[in-house]
Amino acid sequence: MTARPQDAALRRGRRAARLRRAVTGWGFVSPFTILFAVFMAGPVLISLAMSFTDMRSADVRDPLGVNFVGLDQYAKVFGDPLFLKASGNTAFFVLVGVPLTMAAGLAVALGLNSGLTRFKTVFRVGYYLPVVTSIVAVSVVWRFLLQPDTGLVNGLLGLVGVDGPNWLDDENLSLPSLVVMAAWRNLGFQMVIFLAGLQAIPANLYEAARLDGASRRQQFRHVTLPMLRPTMLFVAVITTISYLQFFEESYVMTQGGPLNSTLSVSFHVFKQFGFGNYGYASAMSYVLFVAIVALSLLWFRLLKRKDQ
């Protein structure tokens, strides 16, 4: 019958513990949170407000002197044929590009992580080089590779008797060409993250699996893949986010052409900001944001750890 005072003490203790947890928790996050609130959340809120106005670049000296137009800009987005075209292009880019880049990045990371005994640094640096190489230099070389008459790609195709097309100036091939280029450019980034993730898998798990008689393939399926889930989730989300916003490739390679076949939503937004249509460009950005959130949620659903 001494339970009651004990309970009270326990509850007090629990409350104190909860308070302590709150204090330590916020202690850890507050430096981040303050900077985050000022320099990130603040501008996000302002830009969101901008998307409900008719603000143009001519209004920058008097940003409060604009008209509140409600959802007009958003309505305009969905009536904009270029936006719809760009959405289709972007969807293709993401649906093909994300799996392609992830598969390539993971393959290279696994290759570099297993069995490779020599020149590890050379390989790692080499595969990362496209990430750091200037996009302009990259575009010059890729244009050379894809040149219809003198390009290396069509040269190789010619060897097997195929008459190579004009990759970048064909409405149907320009976008796939850019997808391959993007995968090439980004797989080094993914490789680096996958390598970090692979290193986080405790060696004793493999040991245990091996003792159970698991083959390499089984080890991969039952140890590597499940343990890599948080990393995969991260890579999938980040890549989806960045591919939904792709535009550098079309900016330097095709300027969105031919006939807008490589115009992406982000490129369209970029142009609208350039034209000074701040309100409209902001609204379009937030439409893109909703798409990003939706796809990321999908990834969370698909890749969330079963035990959570």
């Binding site: 969101l48 001519a58 920058v60």
Partner: protein, 422 residues
């Protein structure tokens, strides 16, 4: 996942509050500010800050000594900024009220920046519009008020491979549309070129090659009442003419990027339209003296496009009078001629072309002649957007079976729906 809903709700609330705080526009609309207040007499004093892009920014200091000799109380600080991103830098500077006193401004940006209210109207007691090429001066005039002065100009001509032209029997520059077509056909048929000409098949900036033909045919971008005139018979006929070079296979429609100059040097491409910077590019390719330039052919007129850079003083300038005095100094004919010798920029001031260095060179003289008949697009805030839409349509005109009339109609609708931005 529960964490998602609350922040979203918070964002929504904050937005609603901000939206209410936005107060709405004053019904000012298009305003004619009138000329700027007079600048004080006497030499300039104090520090004058100027932003200039690229090579102009790098070399401008060379002209400063001449200015400070006459204005010992003044110092000029030049900050070079890259062309790449210059538009963003200037517009954010205006937004933040963090401008210098003067900046070099691309001619097609004037309409947009003037409408922010961030530029100071040109004072009449210091600058005389008649000194400048009219097409260049027009780039500074927004809604009837001038907001700067032209600093340097460029205009577009035909670059022609002399060898190909000789083989084709084209001795003199064609003077009409028919002669131009005939000359280009001859360069392809007899001159040994794969393509008689390379005209821009749409894509960024193609309007600069197309609009001269519209102007030559007596067409315009805007009517006097301010409405657009893309669908006039004059404009439609010019588009038709431009398209014919593609349908008659006289110009490539999908030339890979970077192939123009090498193909021109090899004689595979007989001619192309471009500005004075190609003199330098062709020199680097070792092609100096092996090509010639043609002025634009004449239909109703022989008009070309004029671009370049203007100098503008900002409303937020800390040293307004000094800034205008420096701008006025840069517009002096002798300083303009010196500037040409320093960097190769063509003078915007007409009398500067009397300088022997400019007069003696026949290549440059052709540019000088063309500048007397060269136009710029209207200084409306939405021009970049209208031009980009026009470029898109040009690509369709050239690459698909779209007709000139359809293109003219679409361009008209597009421009009208975009409007002039106030």
């Amino acid at each position: 996942m529960r964490g998602w809903t609350r922040p979203v709700a918070a964002l929504g609330l904050a937005t609603a509050l901000l939206a209410v705080a936005a107060c709405g526009r004053d019904a000012e609309g298009a305003q004619d500010e009138g000329p700027g207040t007079a600048v004080s007499d006497g030499p300039a004093t104090g520090e004058i800050n100027i932003w200039a892009m690229g090579a102009e920014g790098e070399k401008l200091s060379a002209l400063v000594d001449g200015f400070t000799k006459d204005n010992p109380g003044a110092t000029v600080k030049v900050t070079p900024i890259p062309w790449d991103g210059a538009h963003d830098k200037i517009s954010t500077a205006i937004a933040g009220g963090e401008t210098p006193d003067v900046a070099l401004i691309g001619t097609t940006w004037m309409g947009e920046f003037a409408r922010t209210g961030g530029l100071d109207p040109t004072p009449e007691n210091l600058i005389k519009p008649a000194d400048f090429y009219p097409g260049a001066w027009d780039t500074t005039v927004v809604n009837g008020t001038s907001y700067g002065v032209p600093w340097y100009v460029e205009t577009r001509l035909f670059y022609v491979n002399s060898d190909v032209a000789r083989k084709a029997g084209v001795d003199t520059p064609p003077s009409s549309w028919e002669e131009l077509k005939a000359a280009i056909t001859a360069m392809q048929d007899k001159g040994g070129a794969d393509w008689g000409v390379s005209l821009q098949p749409g894509k960024t900036g193609s309007w600069q090659s197309v609009l001269p033909f519209v102007w030559q045919n007596g067409g315009a971008i805007q009517r006097d009442d301010g409405s657009f005139a893309f669908d006039t018979p004059e404009a439609t006929a010019a588009l038709e003419y431009y398209k014919s070079f593609f349908t008659e296979k006289l110009s490539p429609a999908d030339l890979p990027q970077g192939a123009l100059e090498p193909d021109f040097v090899k004689g595979k491409i007989g001619s192309f339209i471009s500005g004075p910077w190609h003199i330098g590019i062709l020199k680097e390719q070792g092609f100096e003296g092996k090509y010639e330039v043609w002025n634009m052919p004449t239909k109703v007129s022989g008009t070309s496009f004029v671009g370049g850079g203007d100098l503008a003083v900002f409303k937020d300038a800390k040293n307004r009078d000094g800034a205008w005095k420096f701008v006025s100094y840069l517009s002096r004919p002798d300083v303009q001629a010196t500037w040409f010798q320093t960097i190769g920029d063509l003078p915007a001031v007409k009398s500067a072309w009397e300088d022997p260095a400019l007069k003696a060179d026949p290549m440059l003289a052709a540019f000088g002649t063309q500048l007397n008949d060269a136009k710029s697009p209207p200084t409306i805030a939405t021009w970049d957007q209208i031009a980009a839409g026009f470029d898109d349509l040009m690509e369709q005109l050239v690459k698909t079976d779209m007709t000139a009339a359809e293109m003219a109609k679409s361009a008209q609708e597009q421009a009208t729906s975009i409007g002039t931005g106030g």
